[in-house]
Symmetry: C2
Subunit: 230 residues, 2 copies
């Protein structure tokens, strides 16, 4: 069986879990603590980043974008209407634009700060950067998440899904990154009903269940985290 | 004719120029100063980042990865042996891994610091972050570039090109980002002959000529910058 090396609250790992579940590739999860920089892990992915998929043939596929590309190469055309990177050129451009937005911009401005400060630093040894959270970084992320939520609402006001008529990698990237922020109670859902309705739709998918069952040891999720009708 | 909105010393723009030249898509360059955040530009790419390709049909394709994906979608199979994202699955995985490495990691650790501190800040108004360079950032980048050069040498010691037997997006991404650092004289080529030989090969390609002709107003390039046999 394929193996996904991942960390439960790494937003990129969550994206990989969602797209693997949506495309039906059975995968065993193996937890990797990226801050440990273990040699066998670095041999698989010299950049030391998560996630890494190892397929049945032993091929190591690193990175959220790498795995998305690989799945589309291997399975894409067979998925027909369920393809997460659509066939149409303009739609593919839009999906890639939004992948950059959520895996890049949203990560840098919101989910990386919050995951690192509130979760990772609880478990990292002090000599590797663990310790109390940087409140300045948390405040910045909480401010930034608001315009991202507005942007999601803006797109969903015009379209059924983020990149167009059908669900794509863009929705799963956005929802995966938001899900970490949502666990922490830092998404101001009340500010945008349209974005909230879209998130409830993605969250209700069977592919999302495993994410909703994850827990940070010693830190309960926001009350509505597992609630599909929040 | 297609238009590429770009900035001469933006490393991502340089990557787009190289892959457009290699795949033979005639493109007109239009200079965009990304710090101005002009409304018509943000309408094309809400993220405000460079480069953006506008194709003959008026479709805006933002981002280095977006343009690479678009070119492969539109022209890939027709390019046969000259395809920059090869057909073989394992090779595609390796190209994407190295694209993440150079467009992501190298950019964050080296080329973004140097381009911003030494070039962009000369031309940005003070209220948008312009001014004297941050020497700490420059020193960090100069330290980081050394292990990247070693990594290129390590790969080229085993392979003809960075990702395997043929030249791919990976080589052009690495060379585009290095070219900005090289203009500034900050690549310690003497430390790695293997990496230097590889760069001389990429630099000799006709696609590279336009990059070697670019000049930062008021700042001469390193002496060897335009020299193909440096």
């Amino acid at each position: 069986m394929a193996i996904l090396h991942s960390y439960p609250f790494c937003p990129h790992s969550r994206f990989a879990r969602l797209i693997l579940a949506e495309t039906g590739l059975a995968t065993e999860l193996v937890e990797e603590k990226p801050w440990e920089r273990r040699i066998p892990f670095l041999e698989m992915n010299p950049a030391g980043t998560l996630p890494v998929l190892v397929d049945d043939s032993g091929l190591a596929v690193p990175g959220a974008r790498g795995i998305a590309g690989y799945l589309d190469d291997v399975q894409g055309e067979g998925l027909n209407g369920r393809r997460l990177l659509p066939q149409n050129i303009a739609q593919r451009v839009e999906v890639r634009r939004l992948l950059d937005w959520f895996l890049g911009k949203f990560h840098e401005e919101v989910s990386d700060y919050l995951a690192t400060e509130k979760i990772y630093k609880r478990f990292m040894p002090a000599e590797l950067g663990g310790g109390p959270p940087d409140m300045g970084a948390i405040r910045a992320a909480r401010t930034n998440v608001r315009y991202h939520l507005k942007y999601i609402g803006f797109l969903i006001a015009q379209r059924n899904w983020l990149a167009g008529d059908q669900m794509t990698y863009a929705d799963l990237a956005a929802a995966a990154h938001l899900s970490v922020v949502d666990y922490l109670g830092d998404v101001p859902w009340d500010e945008n009903e349209t974005a909230k309705e879209w998130y409830a739709r993605v969250k209700s998918r069977p592919s999302f269940r495993a994410l909703l069952a994850d827990r940070v040891p010693g830190m309960a999720p926001a009350e509505h985290y597992g609630n599909l009708d929040f």
